[in-house]
Amino acid sequence: MENEIVFSVLAVVAVVSAIVMISAHRPIDSALSFIVTLISVAALFGLVNATFLFVVQIIIYAGAILTLILFIIMFLNIKDENLPEEKYKNRWLLVTSILILPFSVILINLILGSDIAVNSVINENLGTIKDVGLTLFSQWILPFELVSILLLVALVGSVTLSKRKD
Amino acid sequence: MNILSIIIFLPIITAVILFFVRIHVNTIKIIYMIVTSIIALLTLKLYINFEQISSMQFEEIHRWISEYGINYHIGVDGVSLGIVMMNAILMPLVAIALYKQRDKRGYWINLLFVQGGIMGVALSLDLMLFYLFWEIMLLPIFLMIGFFGYGNKNFITMKFNIYTIFGSLMMLISILYIAVQYKIQFDVYTFELDKLQNLILTPTQSILVFSGFMIAFAIKIPIFPFHTWLSDTYRSAPTGAVIVMSALMAKLGAYAIWRVLFTLLDETSHEVAHYFIAVGLFGLIYFGISAMRQTHLKRMFALSSASHLSLVVVGFFIYDVYGLIGSSYLIVAHAISSAALFLMAGMLYERSKTYDIASLGGIATVAPRFSLFFAFFALSIVGVPMTAGFVAEVLIVLGAFNYNIYIGFLTATTILIAMLFMFKMISQVLYGKASKATENFEDLRMHELIALIPLALLVLAMGIFPNYFIKNIEPTAVSYTVGKKVFHHD
């Protein structure tokens, strides 16, 4: 029962901060509210025993990526006049929301009407670092290696991109 | 390999190879001359071996896309022979006349390519093949105007191409439609002209198919009111392209009426013939009168061509043996004369740097040979006796009188129409005092003479001994008229 209360609170926080993120004018505001979303999502991970992911989410997303964003925002020294004017931002948001509404409504409707999650398996080990590690290095070894190559490529790419041309 | 296939593919293949090989333009000219001369010799052989019978000769048939009954089927008969001959004769002569003026590789490669395309259209007996060559022949012209044209050439070449491609599209729709109908009726696909003849179509269907084809041909010829691309295109196109368009491609449009429509949709053609006679007669007079006020030499020639081609259409749709023979003869006769005239217009421009009729004049004093040939070809367009045009016009007029006396009188105005503008033009260009543009006018050079003399002799020979040439057309024309229902409107 308390799980559900916690879930509700976290869900509301995540949604609200996400909405703030997409509607804030300045990127710094967006970034800060996005951190809130990420942390609430991390907490939601924890709520379903995904302890390893919880940690990873906090460390990588909230820790590394968002810090990087904030760092960049500050590094670039973005002033207000550098920001896009976005005269019709609210109108755009409204129109897009209306457009996406059928999509969400239909999906939610389908999920509510479906019979998933009837035979939930309770596995205490699920989500521990050991469990995830075992799965990762047994079933997912090839994708794992590919991801490592991807990271390498991204590394090289970002270095090349940000190098000044003389 | 069949002689006809060589005629079609030798130029095309040579052009493609030349396109990929980087060699000097002079070498290309030499290769061009060799190839076109070989073609000319081969067609001469064809002409000599041609038997005076109505059926297809030198036929060649191979399966190509057998699943859909598309065959590689070519052959020659009395009608296509004329166009093939013209194409083969004109191409080397054009090159001889132009060889100093044009130093672009693409010019010559395109000319070679278009020669093959035209041969293909004239010789194909399979509708899909016909369509293919019909499109192939367009492409080089498009490129030539775009690369080597004058004036507002981008707009004009786009206009020309959209016009003609629209027409081709209509034709493609008709071709596919009748093929599908044939499949429905005979349970097999075919695009063979002689097989498709057996198709039974309802009147509505045949009218629709007919219009599809006719739009393509009408744009190509052009007949009223599809002519508005004509004068601008001829004005901007380089000499080689204009000659190909006026002397050969426009004629192919008229030829296709006979080859495709009279073969496939014989009855429909008869039923709608009077509309097209009316349109043709209107065009004959309309273009002739329009040409009167033109100040641009090539525009005037363009409209003059259109006027004569309308006459060809009249001759075809009159649909009796005189009309058919007369029109086929006029196709050839006019091809020579108009090719020569456009060639000379090109020379005129090269020397005087103007096409404006009013600013020319006095050429006869400084360049008597040029004037002689210019006047000769202009007069042969008018159809003075002992030139080929005269024979053709007499035959068409005869056919028209045979058809209906009023049509006859209207058709006979052809001997008046061309004079309306030709004589004033001759006076203004050749006679009078030499103007600033023409005072240093150089007379014909030797290579230009070499190109023009055969054409002039051919015009004369066709005017004086027409029987020798007409004997080849006659059996085919007779086979299209005798034994078929002929409608007489009184």
Partner: protein
């Protein structure tokens, strides 16, 4: 519980899409993309927990890894683009379009 997670995931995803399309600030657009990834992660983990299989976790892990590399590239792109154009407006990066008239 799973249904709730799924619904939340859908809502977050929609918000991400809305942000992605509506905003012109490329940093916000980037964050919207991250939000999309997070929404997917959420549903993956929820399903994974429900069926008792760790594959979902692994997938999420990889998504996070991809997001990380994406972040690295995006950041360097921001720097380059901002240096060139002096703006964060996504509308000025439209050389894909037909601009010759």
């Amino acid at each position: 519980m799973l249904k709730a997670y799924m619904i939340l995931s859908i809502i977050l995803f929609s918000i991400g899409v809305i942000g992605l399309i509506s905003r012109r600030n490329i940093i916000v657009i980037y964050m919207s993309i991250e939000l999309l990834l997070n929404a997917v992660n959420l549903s993956l983990i929820a399903i994974s927990g429900d069926i008792g299989n760790a594959s979902g976790h692994v997938m999420s892990l990889m998504i996070i890894a991809i997001a990380a590399s994406e972040a690295a590239l995006f950041m360097s792109l921001f720097v380059v683009l901002f240096r060139k154009k002096g703006s964060l407006d996504a509308n000025i990066f439209d050389i894909l379009g037909n601009k010759d008239d």
